[in-house]
Symmetry: D2
Subunit: 336 residues, 4 copies
Amino acid sequence: MIRVGVYGATGYAGFELVKLLHAHGQVEIGFASSESHTGKRLCEVYPTPLDYPLVAPSEAPLGDVDVAFLCTPHGVSAKLAAAVLGKGVKCIDFSADLRLHDLATYETWYTKHTAPELLPEAVYGLCEVYRERIAGARLIANPGCYTATALLALYPAARAGWLPDGPVIIDAKSGVSGAGVKPTDTTHFCSVHGNLSTYNVGHKHRHVPEIEQELAEYSGHACRIVFTPHLLPVSRGILETIYLTTPPEVTLEALHACYSSQYAGEPFVQLLPLGQGSTLAHVVNTNRCTISLHSAGAPGEFIIVSVLDNLLKGAGGQAVQNMNIMFGLPETMGLE
Amino acid sequence: MIRVGVYGATGYAGFELVKLLHAHGQVEIGFASSESHTGKRLCEVYPTPLDYPLVAPSEAPLGDVDVAFLCTPHGVSAKLAAAVLGKGVKCIDFSADLRLHDLATYETWYTKHTAPELLPEAVYGLCEVYRERIAGARLIANPGCYTATALLALYPAARAGWLPDGPVIIDAKSGVSGAGVKPTDTTHFCSVHGNLSTYNVGHKHRHVPEIEQELAEYSGHACRIVFTPHLLPVSRGILETIYLTTPPEVTLEALHACYSSQYAGEPFVQLLPLGQGSTLAHVVNTNRCTISLHSAGAPGEFIIVSVLDNLLKGAGGQAVQNMNIMFGLPETMGLE
Amino acid sequence: MIRVGVYGATGYAGFELVKLLHAHGQVEIGFASSESHTGKRLCEVYPTPLDYPLVAPSEAPLGDVDVAFLCTPHGVSAKLAAAVLGKGVKCIDFSADLRLHDLATYETWYTKHTAPELLPEAVYGLCEVYRERIAGARLIANPGCYTATALLALYPAARAGWLPDGPVIIDAKSGVSGAGVKPTDTTHFCSVHGNLSTYNVGHKHRHVPEIEQELAEYSGHACRIVFTPHLLPVSRGILETIYLTTPPEVTLEALHACYSSQYAGEPFVQLLPLGQGSTLAHVVNTNRCTISLHSAGAPGEFIIVSVLDNLLKGAGGQAVQNMNIMFGLPETMGLE
Amino acid sequence: MIRVGVYGATGYAGFELVKLLHAHGQVEIGFASSESHTGKRLCEVYPTPLDYPLVAPSEAPLGDVDVAFLCTPHGVSAKLAAAVLGKGVKCIDFSADLRLHDLATYETWYTKHTAPELLPEAVYGLCEVYRERIAGARLIANPGCYTATALLALYPAARAGWLPDGPVIIDAKSGVSGAGVKPTDTTHFCSVHGNLSTYNVGHKHRHVPEIEQELAEYSGHACRIVFTPHLLPVSRGILETIYLTTPPEVTLEALHACYSSQYAGEPFVQLLPLGQGSTLAHVVNTNRCTISLHSAGAPGEFIIVSVLDNLLKGAGGQAVQNMNIMFGLPETMGLE
């Protein structure tokens, strides 16, 4: 049995993670912490029979666990990760603190970094790309939810050398749980129901530098994206409609063959047959990313539709997949 | 032209009221105040082209208006109503402060009253019942939304002497706007979407004493209700399913004839033919209350389904209807 | 491994059942049949990676399986059950054909019965009540979804002798999947979204005689219910608000103690502590029924709020629970 | 008073139109026809107090009316329009039959044309572009809903000569009423709720040639679009996120000034200030199109977010606006 601790267990991603870990089979939950609900039990915060006590983060018994999940905000996570590693405990962080390799980029988009010395060690936790490195890692930066959706959609094309010099347009739509559990004007039911809205339009959302960093890694050249996030009137799920221009000789069939070959054997990536389209219903409440490929009507112009559940493959499920790899368990354990 | 002022213009009911008043035809809006958005314009707070400036309540030019609408919370309203009347301005209050005739009942269910001297003068603003008194009133207590739905559903039966000694069961379902504009855990999209929940079950909701007061007035004897409010995953609308036991000789046809006669000529009460059922879709975005009558399967046992839009017939529309009566305008003006 | 067959695999309940059986661990799916999608694969009908071929019901290889699930409509099921049993295969039927013990009652509420000779043998498949009989049964009538919600809510009170002579009022709200997969005016998105409506109000819904039959069994005397189903704008889940009058000396604490004792050890019934209320979110996507108890404000007057997922504890999950019992497996296998 | 007839009054657009016409003030409804509900009254088909009788289309008293609205499908409309004009009655058609100037294009995307002789006379009914021609027209082709959203978003840029040679990418999202009133698997509540899906991805939707025709007119050169429609879990409203590349010297401020000048004085186009974003909530239940402009992060790269209510500015409201112009009434009558 692996003993795990969860910091930030009462956020949406943290709660999903606890449910996965509880049912995992090879995991024992050593502690679940919550800043805002210290002293309560999980079943008092969410409609669930799970009754884990919620300890203060500062009193979490780190010495008892093999790995800690940090479902904590950027700024908080990095410092906490340093403490976790200092106790000899492995660490999987959900925040953006350890995702960007370049300190200056981080500080431009976020804030003063609280533990920059960890950046060289952190492994970007996208299993389908970095499986080997994850296996040997102590410290994982779990990808952003929008980012994972985009990267899985573009990774095969990037590896094939088919990303353009010009921008890749990503029209992204997310369910409301992506905005977090804290109630705001934006997440009020009456603001969202029957509505659709955009935010951080163009090149402003914090997942932009993360996507561009990874696409540059996969393709070997700088990549620019245009990124428009929309807030959907659903609780969970992300759908990204991606407009990709490749060299004109690439056909839809060749593109599909490339993706099919890249993702053959991947348990959590589903490439749809040509003619079908990805929908949120393919992935909500699963750890899958589902991808469909479409012609945009002219040679070398394609539309990729990529979907995942932002709380699972986009957060808690991805984290468990990373844990399984780190501890030598079957990668799908607890995720099917 | 009637000049009006609106206190609390950025709550849901206040905003609906401003939209009605703006399009009314015989009304000029002298001021719109907002505690939380002082200094902004309405179009910066809501997605609307209406750009009224939002003044601080304390700086509202009361001297300029003929009537003030108080879309303010209980506790705040009574004191403000006293100030409004003191300037010779008529007043229509949306809060509960002036609805309960009995001071002790108010203070049991709410809080210390801030202007009990106004209670004798306040007229309960349910137009279908108190039309004459409203015409001559300076001060109106606009009914609660759950209350209006229940009272219109039970008024004809009460007048006919058909209310029971035992309890009337009211199973009430409300859209989320009824919970107000302030974001809370309860009104977070992810708490409501795909969900249904109860609150203040049994005899605990603050509209209970208001319903019981009025039913006693209409029937001439004390009435007890059982009241279960539910939070529906819709933005607006209330549906109440009411279980009524009458003397056993009352038939469904007789009940329908009684309601039909009571509400003939009422512009904003729609009695459905037997065999049809009220739905939220009958009333959302209208000032109507729609009522259907059903047999519960045994003599003298009936089910009444009553619906209205909590922000219109349950708040802003009702208030405009009251204003029209108070100022001698056609009662339906600005409401169709 | 138990080999199973599923008739009607492309209805909502059938599809949920196939997903449960696929992930069960001790089950192999021998066939899945579909009248309307014969010849396709399941993944062509639903957004799922499960790719079971869909055979014609008449070509289902009954000889290959140990148990058949009939997710077929009333009228079809009884005849099919006879054929299944005739092959020596056990049978779990989702329709109403075998739920009512009294042939005349069935034919009053439904239609001419197609295999009345099976009625004496069929066991009503509510595990919490009939566990022993289910263990030895060949033929199970899986309960209706509204019925299961009501019966689990009233069973302890009925056994305690606390059901009244007068009617029990059940105000029931169901998600749209309860209306089936066939598109109709009623299930069109635009008819449901933002709306709430009633249907079959009073004593008209076909689950009424089923509830009354079982309550009479549990209480030892005839019971009458008043039943108002509502169509909720959610996909799945049932919430019933039940108004129960007991002898006046029964306190809320005594009622809670009675339920607590009855359901101690039941893996799929969750009794909430006093002060909490059941919500759909407690049960959607689970096999649980969650129950909360509330005072209605006077001695002996109570409100019970009972919730379950109509496709799981109200259909497919209940069926798997029955199968587990019939085959001597742990009752919770594949359901947690 | 203008006397009007409505063919197809029980589709979603037809019903919205009837509501607008009923409340218009200068209109009398001479007839409302329905193929599928002949002989009923409107209040039996929809939850409305409007009780217009629904006549068979063949028995509609055309001689009694000044203008007929055809809320009928393509293929049906053209033939009907010929009959209407033959009686000396003006005609506003909601279908695609008369929108495309080129017969061959129509027959490629749709079907054999039933009245090609009408094409030269038909005026494309986008008021903000063709106001003068509409004033003198007998026959109006009311624009498609996706089309109107796109054209109002691109018209000022097209006139300014800023449309690119390369494709304009239109990522379009529509509420379910756009799919029509007929129940299908696609419009079943359970298919849509909590979901998001695409259809006719790339260059396949029938509004593509209509958009390309008009953009070519406005810009003076051939234009190609990429068009991805999505089905949103809302009842009404369209939001299009449009990716436009202009000459690099065009700044966001210049673009905004261009739009501002084009639409100054337009009662039904709202250009948001820079920094704000269009949402469905801006336009649902109104006849407005709201447009916001955003930088995509590089010179000459812009994102335009355009929204309207598909049943009003995208159908019935636009038609009334056309009627007002045709009959010399104030253009906003009945639409505010």
